[in-house]
């Protein structure tokens, strides 16, 4: 293996580890925002009740509930959705690491699902409240991912 190929393999492995770490971090941060600061009438809270962890969840909520007043509302209401979407894109890019055509198809599928949920909420087809910030953040994440993937492709072609 020549040096350029070695650099490529090494950077691919590092990138994969970083993507897994960042994807999981996105999911955990988004999940914690929901668990701590969102309304307890969400479906996930009845799931927590069923698996018997309601009291632990309530303990965490009570501990950090005062921060609610200091955190911007878009962080609580819209950011978890964008983190969820970003996590999906990151994991899909790991799965389709060496196949750009398939990767784009799966990115588009996830993008359509994420936007479809918001549009469904706008027309009251899906339960939940439509929020334009959700749409902007999803579009922002998609745009960022496209730019990131294009830069990666340019760098790989240079090598």
């Amino acid at each position: 293996m020549n040096m350029k190929a070695e650099i490529l393999v090494y950077s691919n492995k590092t990138r994969k580890v970083l993507k897994i770490f960042w994807g999981l971090t996105n999911l955990i941060i988004g999940g914690l925002i929901y668990i701590i600061w969102r309304k307890d009438t969400l479906l996930m809270f009845s799931w927590f009740n069923k698996i018997g962890i309601s009291s632990e969840i309530n303990m965490i909520r009570n501990e950090y509930k005062d921060f609610y007043f200091f955190i911007p509302k878009w962080v609580i209401m819209s950011l978890p959705n964008a983190l969820w979407f970003n996590c999906g894109l990151l994991f899909l890019s790991i799965i389709w690491q060496n196949n750009d055509e398939e990767k784009i198809i799966w990115f588009v599928i996830l993008f359509i699902i994420a936007l479809g949920i918001e549009i469904g909420q706008l027309f009251h087809i899906i339960s939940g409240v439509y929020d334009k910030n959700d749409m902007f953040l999803i579009l922002g994440v998609m745009l960022f991912t496209i730019i990131f993937e294009l830069l990666r492709k340019v760098n790989e072609d240079k090598l």
Binding site: D40, L42, N81, W84, C87, G88, L92, E102, I117, I126
Partner: protein, 111 residues
């Protein structure tokens, strides 16, 4: 990893993400939950700084229902007073369900 396996993993990933997304959606509230939400609204109206109000979670509140669709809640609220001091107020609230969307206040007392 061959392509068909990758497709399978991608589908599983999207299904998991959809389940997580579905869990973040609301569900229909029970009458007791709506009674608590209605009482919170009336309690807020009585506070000097309503935006500072912090209520306990629904699971920690006892809501009793009686005949004639009347629900009684004994609970507390934490809020800031005019001097920016955090105070805790206990209250007893009774609300009546008229129909699915209409609820009225019967009684609200602070202790």
């Amino acid at each position: 990893m061959n392509n068909s396996y990758k497709h399978f993993v991608s589908v599983i990933l999207i299904v998991i993400l959809c389940i997580l997304g579905f869990g973040s959606k609301g569900r229909d509230k029970t009458d007791k939950e709506v009674a608590f939400i209605t009482c919170k609204k009336y309690v807020r109206e009585e506070l000097k700084l309503p935006d500072s109000a912090i209520f306990p979670n629904y699971e920690d509140v006892e809501v009793t229902d009686s005949k004639s669709n009347i629900y009684e809640i004994v609970s507390y609220v934490q809020a800031l007073n005019y001097y920016n001091e955090k105070i805790s107020l206990e209250y007893k609230c009774s609300v009546k369900k008229i129909d699915k969307k209409k609820w009225i206040l019967i009684n609200l007392n602070f202790y």
